[in-house]
Amino acid sequence: MSKTKRDNLITYGIVILAFIIFQVLSATGNLSSHMKGLLVPMTYYAVIAVALNLCVGILGELSIGHCGFMCIGAFTSAFFSKVTEEVLPTAPRFIIAFIIGIAFAALFGFLIGIPVLRLKGDYLAIVTLAFGEIIKNVINAFYVGVDSHGLHFSMKNAMELNMEEDGQVIINGAMGITGTPHDSNFAIGIAVLLISLFVVLNLINSRDGRAIMAVRDNYIAAEASGINVTRYKMMAFTISAAIAGAAGVLFSHNITTLTASSQYFGYNASIMILVYVVLGGIGNIRGSVIAACILYLLPELLRGLNTYRMLIYSIVLIVMMIVNWSPKVIEWRKRTFGNLLKKSGKEMA
């Protein structure tokens, strides 16, 4: 078995192990209801961290608007689920909701990618940030209703929809979508995370993934080697947006009132996800999953400490930064854990 293959299996193993541990804790009644409520968010933040790492770490383009794609996935899928709630049974409805959320996020990733990927570095980051905010604000001004005549749109207010008496407002501007069916659960979240990991890790270890990384490392040399730089940038950005859309689907089917608020889809949220990616290790997919889980759970678990919560959180950020990036610590880690691995390998043999 090759080293990359083993590394990938370890990554899947960690996720599955975490799933089993939480399931056991939950079944034995050791998990508070507050903690149970954090499990699904933990999975979708891990998923979007994987998506963003594909964009930042593998493609090498700094995007700080990824929550915008999550927002699109959330709203399109919630819209679909809400409309078809009485028509379709849960399982096929949720699967189609996923397909719709992912497809729309990918479509917007593609469209936004066309102008954005012509830019480099800081400029690209600023424009992605702007697009993320635009998506959020446009959705906030969106009114969509449905009655016997079909769909009605408005950008003014719910009254302007001009619906019949039986009409139902689905997206109510800044009040968003209320009453999306609660289809997400921890197991589905883990499954989506595993699929995202599978897609990204497989991609990295393929012809297309190598081309994407070649573009990141030196696009002039990539072009001279016959690599179509634009094609591979678009490919990575679109796939990344699609996975962010999947996170959005999980999100919207786990919340009673879905609003395009800054708390969930603003640039602060995007930067928080970027923090997961940077601290987990840029280009290190497994690291971003672990960092997302720890850094999402930590402030929530520290709620009891109230005043000191953010202080402890920031200390943890600094410690993680040192553990992940300091050359001396990396050396020490390799020495210690490398020996452990060797020993266990010998015992097995």
């Binding site: 897609v199 497989n202 991609l203 393929s206 012809r207 297309d208 993934g209 190598r210 081309a211 990384m213 070649a214 990141r216 490392d217 030196n218 002039i220 040399a221 990539a222 072009e223 001279a224 080697s225 016959g226 690599i227 179509n228 730089v229 490919m235 280009g283």
Partner: protein
């Protein structure tokens, strides 16, 4: 018919005529040198040949095919590969992955197969691995195949860059000052590598060089550029004995 035929190539930047009325004919299998003092327009010629710049006038033909207006990617697909004066490797990729990137336009499979590792993925990856190893062996880099390209010593980085260029299966290889920044030992090894490429792949090579020893040691024919114009063209010995060339290089 010559492999590369360049007729009346010209380009100006603003009012400056960087290259004017440039003519070049390289036969298959030749090792051709392009020399000239600093700022003579050598790298500009390379950039014109590889589609980085579009010429104002002139025609470039590779193997009878007009490639004048094509972009870098299309020119690579048409059969010209190059290395760079300042080495440009994919630094965060392993040595073998650098070569595999070079191979990836030759051994193809779809994005779907990339993501799900199904269909022809396994067979094509195996083919790619074998081909990459074969190339690395030629350049004596197979021992370092798994280390990061940025961790290679300078001379080997240059070799890897040539190996990557060869992976695209070119008809013509362009080397932009391959000996730049090398000590005499590394230069000697480089000369051997270039000789090896010709022997193993029956390759036609055009190289830009400052190092006169290298040029006179391996090139069969030379073109001397000065102020964007061809000063002298022909067999290496004759060119190097030309009083105009000596004047351009050493002064009166």
């Amino acid at each position: 018919m010559a492999l590369l035929e360049v007729n009346n190539l010209s380009i100006s930047f603003g009012g400056l005529r960087a290259v004017g009325d440039f003519n070049l004919k390289i036969e298959k299998g030749e090792l051709y040198g392009l020399i000239g003092p600093n700022g003579a327009g050598k790298t500009t010629v390379f950039n014109l040949l590889t589609g980085v710049y579009k010429p104002d006038e002139g025609i470039i033909k590779l193997d009878g095919q007009d490639i004048t207006r094509k972009n870098t990617i299309e020119i690579n697909h048409a059969g010209i590969a190059r290395t760079f004066q300042n080495i440009r490797l994919f630094k965060q990729l392993s040595v073998i992955d650098n070569v595999k990137v070079g191979l990836s336009e030759r051994i193809k499979y779809s994005l779907f197969e990339s993501i799900f590792h199904v269909g022809s993925y396994k067979a094509k990856e195996k083919e790619m691995e074998e081909e990459a190893l074969r190339l690395l062996k030629v350049f004596d880099l197979d021992g370092e195949k798994d280390i990061l390209a940025s961790n290679l010593p300078y001379g080997k980085q240059r070799k890897l860059e040539i190996a990557r260029a060869m992976a695209t299966d070119p008809k013509l290889l362009l080397l932009d000052e391959p000996a730049a920044g090398m000590n005499p030992n590394e230069t000697k090894e480089l000369m051997e590598t270039i000789a090896l490429v010709r022997r193993e792949f029956d390759m036609t090579i055009l190289l830009i060089e400052h190092d006169m020893k290298l040029v006179s040691g391996i090139c069969e024919k030379l073109t001397v550029l000065n102020f964007g114009r061809v000063l002298c063209q022909g067999e290496t010995k004759e060119v190097l004995a030309d009083p105009e060339v000596i004047k351009a290089y050493i002064g009166d």
